[in-house]
Subunit: 398 residues, 4 copies
């Protein structure tokens, strides 16, 4: 008699969501191995994490189309996975498609607005009414599916940076702003508010603001909800968080660290807008100085190269000084399929967040730091240390 | 009134020894920063490690020449470091040159024997008499320099693999073999015996056998000596021990890991002999399976490419499978100057071993695992874990 | 009323043959563009090359299976091409499968012999009787299909190096050896003899001996047949023949050129046998010195890495000296799908050889040099020069 | 009794000029081999090019300092060449330093103006008076040194793009503008005018405008002067002009070509200014479409990374489609020392231009196309074709 857990995906037909849904379906069927899932590694075998069969999925989406179309595009345009896997997921796709509702594009910037389809966008007179609409959708799903716990995950496209300095620090000031017609609060935070007010867990897999501000930290605590974020650490930045601590341990002086990223999926198209790109570059760049204790010259670029589709390719050039002042070089090239890297981490986050909910944890889940470029509620950026802390948290006896 | 510590280098005019001696000299003068030295990282600042001024250096060498010649060759042929640094070390070089004694080439294989110069090789009627000769040199140096503790470090060229299975397990059986004229015991082990019998610490920075067998473990314990080894982890293998645990944590399936190494220094010339190369490849290859818990296909090559001199260049191609079975690729290219990478680790090892001697530690120093490809007395191959254990050992209160 | 041209593939269900057959089928249907085909480049548009619809295909194969199986394995195991393309080729595959006959494994070495299936190998009492059997197959196909010209192409696995020095130089001495029971003549040459005696063109896309010896040159001339070879230049070596002449023009001194190749297809499995590998490495290595006019240190490796399937990945490290003696470095990584690179070149060769037959050319077709690592009857190894000579040959007015 | 040839370098103490002067000095002494010099390749051995001993050097510079300082900075900060070579050039350096005169910064943009030192900048009331000042310097040098022919070479930092559309097409309209106080004509063109009016050859090794406009083409013809340009093709772009034609010959479809360049010399510092960078990127980017006949997506970045000094490192990612639509990848990493690559090409250009002057050639020297990213008076961008045309021009019998 196991519990039923709802996953509510914001950006439900995007590449990450589609791949996560496909993977969940195939894992439930037992037709794929669990490679790529952190939570399926041996060290978490006895952690009591939820089974794949316990999950049901719904979500919001501002674009038309179907999960089947999204999956086919990933397989054919991007060679993301074997096209034969898609057929096994068709019934599941149809069921979930029926549970996907229109979303909001409040504060998402022009690049995202251009993607949106009128029929798939919530019309709301104020942020508060947009939140109410989101909450009605989530609650209707929860009731109909009889879920015990619900986790809202933001896997939508990256918004332009929110003007955090201009936003108030207290929740009651936000409350007032939500009722006005002129709001500076981005969609990612509206979803976060909707989730936290309902007592759902909220996970922000994107660089958008989401719940990463003091007002929403206050809200989460007051509602007894937990949340985590920000910006999934899937490829190049993950390698940075692996390599930089090792260079620090060897006491090499990093002279410069250059990282060039190229890719061609929808996310890349959105990031091609300078406003939206700013959020991403900031999120990728800060951790080096935090790991090293000094700030070497860095340069990060992210460019939209159509032909690469979902294959994010990164070249990193690490120039460092060793003994006797001798400069040396490490270069790496990473060729990873973005959705395929991100999707299992979304499922991992949902499983660990669900465990936190069962344990009654409230507020920012710092223990989920290995999954994020800018981990809320955590300080360590060293991936091996983050994994150690996650394992220690899981193993903790209540 | 600080103690005086002797460093006795086997292979005292090789690239690693020369660079270590140069670095020690320049550190003593305060004329270089301490980049590249693990023991100089902030976390060991209050560990009470010996100061650079406490060390004196001597050693064995089977080739003619001077430290000045070796240093110049590194600077001009290999562009290993700024040639201007050499002049500052001339007095130091001359003093140490005078303390370098002929060595033994017992069991070193033909490639090494061809390098040796008759006038710089010990003539001995038995292994035991070679050991006695080594011990006379070490003791004479210790007495003359009034050293308090002495550490013997093997930085000589790699020997062919010793036939460990054929060698006896008990120290008393070795004793008998040492007195015969037909011995299968390689030079690296003769030096180890000489050191351990005198109560010196013995450190094996090479893939040669050294003290890594049960008979010598027995000897070390009986004499109250400590020892560590085997095969310094400087570049490509270090990166393996950093990256592989991270891939394991992400639960990626390693499909294959190919590593091609090219370099052109003397070490490379010796490794170009298939016998000697076998020792190295074995030492580089095993740790992957131990970290991952399964054995992916691996391929390692080490080739002598004259023009590269001391610049060891490695290309690694890591083919791995993620979620939904999608294969992805990480490649890296490492361009490191071999002697410049190894030399500071030798100095680190000496400092940590000296601390162990002061603390009265006996037997294999497993805490020194971050420094070795095949760490004696240790199980972890994960570099971040090894560093954590080293730090914990250092911080341990007696 | 255009002529009909027969293509006879030796190794007819291997990766290269399967991909060539598939491509020919799809080109005939007009369902793929002609990227990858040299002969389809604008400069050859008015050369009067044969149309895709003029070709019919048969061949020899020593392994069981079907073209459909081979194509599916390439699509699924190696992700060589879109699996959806296969369905469009099914009728064509079945027709050609029916025209594939058992082959000979004379002198192919153990690695190839292990692949062969008894039911698909010619039993012959002497090389001559094996040739007679091959010729019966080719002639039966030609008659049945009413072909006007026939081209035999060797795309079988690489044989061990033939002992060319031991083989006689004159064709009449070969004639005698062919009738004996003890022959040192490898299968690739038996096929070449069979083809040339029938007046077919013979093309050797492999490093095996084929027609590359004076006795067979004599045979070709006496029979008025043309032939070309040896060892298709598809990827890494092609890049060498592009880059090395450019380095020579800049007057850079190549200090060393290291090339490591990894791949996991059947060809790779065969090359994993040291005997067979020797043929390949020799063929890849010689052209550098011929282009540069001096022999820098080179190192070439080819390793079988199962997980890579048909994706041949090469890392080349080019160390060169420029002005003032400064050493600099170019590295490249090539990720090419072997069959997909080779197959169009096979079709190109057939088209150009057919043009040569129409023009009445006899002997070695040196003009086909851009396609080969060891071009018979040609001296230039510079790819741009080779292409210029090919274009000049094509444009030549009779 | 050979002729004396003057080389007048604009930017005479920059990295390229300093290295060219050093190289010339060492070649004259016979103390370095001629690697890196196109004109020293065997194919030009009998071309009758001027000997190194025939050249004398002067120039303009807007910064203070000495050639010795510049050379030392290249050797120590950038490891550009062996520091021991510098001592051999000291007398030559001093002599040439004495012949270096203040320059103009008209239209060079703020980034360059910030570098300039007041005492080393010509004060002129109009462009015409600046030209007159330049001409006085050049003529005084020519007279004093009794040179027979004089070649002015622009190796100064890159200017922002000139507004070519706004500039008049006829020389007489330029004449009027030169006398006004408000001129849109950049310094590079003022130097070109000064040179061409004096009948000197003018060579523009930078992306700045120089003589690349119809008015100056008119001027050159009317004065019987020859000129060449624009933007030396030293590293990454050179490789593009080598590889792209080869990809075209194989009929591969280039899907995207991404090139990231990082380096840290003065040139890089100037290019870090967006205005100046625009000139460079345009010059690097156009040739691909011209070689291929269609325009794939391209992306080029040039970033100033201080620690790299003169070592220009480029990563190129070439995504291309072959047969059956299969996408494949070539990546290369280029590690070249910028000044060491450029300097010999400057000497080559001077030698070939001097030959052209002797032959009485007038106008744009299209035959010098292999040396330029945007070759004036030439169409071919294919490096092998360019070299062939250069060799044919040299071999031409008058």
């Amino acid at each position: 008699m196991s519990d039923k857990i709802g996953i509510w995906l914001v950006g439900a037909r995007g590449g990450v969501a589609t791949t996560a849904i496909m993977g969940l379906e195939l894992l439930r069927q037992g037709s794929i191995p669990s490679w790529g899932l952190v939570s399926a590694a041996p060290r978490f075998a006895s952690a009591g994490l939820a089974d794949w069969g316990q999950f049901v999925v719904g979500g919001h989406e501002i674009r038309p189309g179907s999960l089947l179309d999204s999956a086919r595009a990933l397989a054919s345009d991007s060679r993301a996975f074997d096209v034969a896997l898609i057929d096994q997921c068709r019934p599941g796709f149809e069921e979930i498609d029926a549970a996907i509702r229109p979303g909001t594009i409040e504060g998402c910037g022009n690049a995202i607005a251009r993607l949106a389809d009128g029929a798939h966008v919530i019309r709301a007179t104020s942020p508060r009414s947009a939140i109410a609409s989101i909450q009605r959708d989530v609650e209707a799903f929860a009731t109909q599916q009889r879920v015990d716990r619900m986790i809202v995950v933001n896997v939508a496209s990256t918004e332009p940076p929110a003007d955090v300095v201009a936003l108030p620090n207290q929740w009651d000031a936000w409350e007032r702003e939500l009722s006005g017609s002129e709001s500076r609060i981005p969609a990612s935070s509206l979803y976060a508010i909707a989730a936290l007010e309902l007592g759902c867990a909220y996970i922000n897999f994107t660089p958008s603001l989401g719940s990463d501000c003091s007002a929403l930290r206050e809200l989460a605590l007051s509602r007894g909800a937990c949340h985590a974020g920000r910006d999934g650490k899937t490829g190049e930045t993950w390698l940075k968080s692996v390599l930089a601590p090792a260079f620090a341990a060897r006491n090499f002086q990093i002279l410069s660290w250059v990282g060039h990223n190229i890719f061609g999926n929808l996310d890349g198209r959105i990031l091609d807008d300078p406003q939206n790109k700013a959020s991403k570059v900031t999120s990728k760049d800060h951790l080096l100085a935090e790991i090293l204790g000094y700030a070497p010259q860095t340069h990060i670029s992210i460019e939209y190269i159509r032909s690469l589709g979902d294959w994010k390719t990164a070249w990193d050039h690490i120039h460092f000084r060793g003994f006797l002042g001798t400069p040396m070089i490490l270069q790496f090239t990473w060729q990873g399929c973005d959705s395929v890297l991100a999707a299992p981490l979304v499922l991992d986050l949902v499983r660990f967040a669900e465990l936190a909910m069962r344990r009654g944890e409230v507020g920012e889940l710092g223990c989920l730091s290995p999954f994020f470029k800018s981990p809320q509620g955590a300080v360590a950026h060293d991936f091996s240390e983050q994994i150690r802390l996650l394992a220690a948290w899981v193993d903790r006896k209540e």
